[in-house]
């Protein structure tokens, strides 16, 4: 290999390393802005922007969903450790159900209730035929939808 080619390789290598370093710094600095939603624990720890709109995501807590009339629903969003009550008026997406992932947008009212203006369903990474999920439920081997996810899945 000639020295010119070696020099080009070194130059490219150093350039890419510098670029990777700079990108890592920028992404770390903007971490709070890149995150799409905050979890209920972050809401409790007051790490969310105060008095502003933000998104909160987690699982819809089992048994927390209530229709309170006038197309308004209340439910709790949980990450296993903490749960935040949510009030929402509007249409819910097809995938919305208890134990499923959800991302809500809105703001906290003074009484610790999150007033949502938009509710999106969040699908998890599990894909399974209906027959298999039914068989698992019958056999008591069911591990999805809320039972295990809420406590173990760290992605919320």
């Amino acid at each position: 290999m000639t020295s010119r080619k070696k020099r080009r390789i070194t130059l490219l290598g150093l350039g890419l390393m510098a670029l990777a370093g700079a990108t890592a710094l920028v992404l770390t600095a903007f971490n709070d802005h890149i995150t799409f939603f905050y979890g209920p624990s972050e809401v409790y720890a007051n790490q969310v922007p105060e008095d502003r709109y933000f998104r909160m995501g987690g699982l819809v807590a089992e048994g927390s969903f209530k229709e309170v009339g006038d197309a308004t629903v209340t439910f709790e969003v949980t990450d296993g450790a903490n749960a935040v009550p949510v009030r929402y008026r509007g249409l819910l997406p097809d995938l919305f159900r208890e134990g499923q992932g959800v991302v809500t947008q809105g703001r906290m009212n003074g009484e610790g209730v999150f007033i949502a203006e938009e509710v999106l369903a969040r699908h998890d990474e599990n894909y399974m035929p209906s027959e298999v999920s039914e068989a698992l439920k019958r056999g008591g081997q069911w591990k999805g939808e809320g039972i295990e996810n809420g406590a173990v899945d760290s992605s919320y």
Partner: protein, 254 residues
């Protein structure tokens, strides 16, 4: 195939053999019919299996079938970009004409895959999430990938001197390669609306085998499709350069 295996041990020197456009053309002609046949077989089998013989998902119902096109497109969008970047690096370092041609032949194919991934993702997002689009880290970084492809194609033709344009495009391709790991790990590094990976997890994939196999076959079909179209495009690029050279020569003789 056998010639490729024989050249492997002798390292980078033997790779230089393929840098010769004439030799590349002969190799491409020998390989193309086989790759094309394999593409039709795997892609056909994969798509038919995925669309007609896979079970509905326990949550998504039939909408899950979008996944069989979306996931291979997204994989290939990243793979094609890595190819563009690797070929650009080889073109910059060794000034290989074939590497340069490969980078520019791969770029529009990759842009096509990226568009397909974005479009199918959007179609899935509306019924499942309740929105066509959100600016989360995964979706945004893939949109950036699409713009990188467009930029790579545009910048190559933006200079009067074709050589300078191609070098500028190669540098853009290398700068943009930083986006590939960002796309891959965006779902792990930040909270996103997009779900984390189902297949690349260490251990058992989070996708049932009756859905995983047709997905993998379709993905193989997508990859073979990429190789076929890449070889065809590279061939036509080399031939176009030859025709141009011959024209110039015949004009000079007159």
């Amino acid at each position: 195939m056998s010639s490729e295996a024989a050249t492997q041990p002798s390292g980078s020197r033997s790779l230089h053999r393929f840098a010769n456009p004439g030799r590349f053309l002969r190799l491409a002609d020998a390989v193309l019919p086989w790759v094309a046949a394999a593409t039709i077989l795997t892609l056909g089998a994969g798509i038919i299996w995925a669309l007609f013989f896979t079970p509905p998902d326990y949550q998504q119902g039939q909408t899950v079938k979008i996944m069989y096109v979306h996931v291979p497109s997204a994989w290939m969008a990243m793979f094609a970009y890595t190819t563009v970047a690797a070929a650009s690096a080889a073109a910059l370092i060794w000034r290989h004409p074939v590497a340069d041609i490969a980078a520019h032949a791969a770029s529009p194919i990759g842009a096509g895959f990226t568009f397909l991934a974005l479009a199918t993702g959007s179609l899935w997002g509306k019924p499942m999430w309740g929105t066509w689009w959100v600016w989360d880290a995964r979706l945004t970084s893939v949109l950036v990938l699409f713009f990188l492809y467009i930029g790579h194609m545009a910048i190559a033709n933006a200079f009067e001197d074709a050589g300078r344009g191609r070098r500028a495009a190669a540098i853009l391709a290398l700068v943009g390669v930083i986006n590939v790991p960002i796309i891959k790990f965006s779902v792990d590094w930040w909270h996103t609306l997009h779900q984390p990976a189902s297949v690349s997890q260490i251990g058992a994939p989070a996708i049932h085998s009756s859905m995983l196999w047709p997905l993998l076959i379709t993905a193989l079909g997508f990859k073979l499709f990429f190789v076929t179209v890449l070889l065809l495009r590279m061939k036509s690029d080399i031939l176009a350069v030859r025709i141009k050279t011959l024209r110039m020569m015949s004009l000079g003789e007159r």
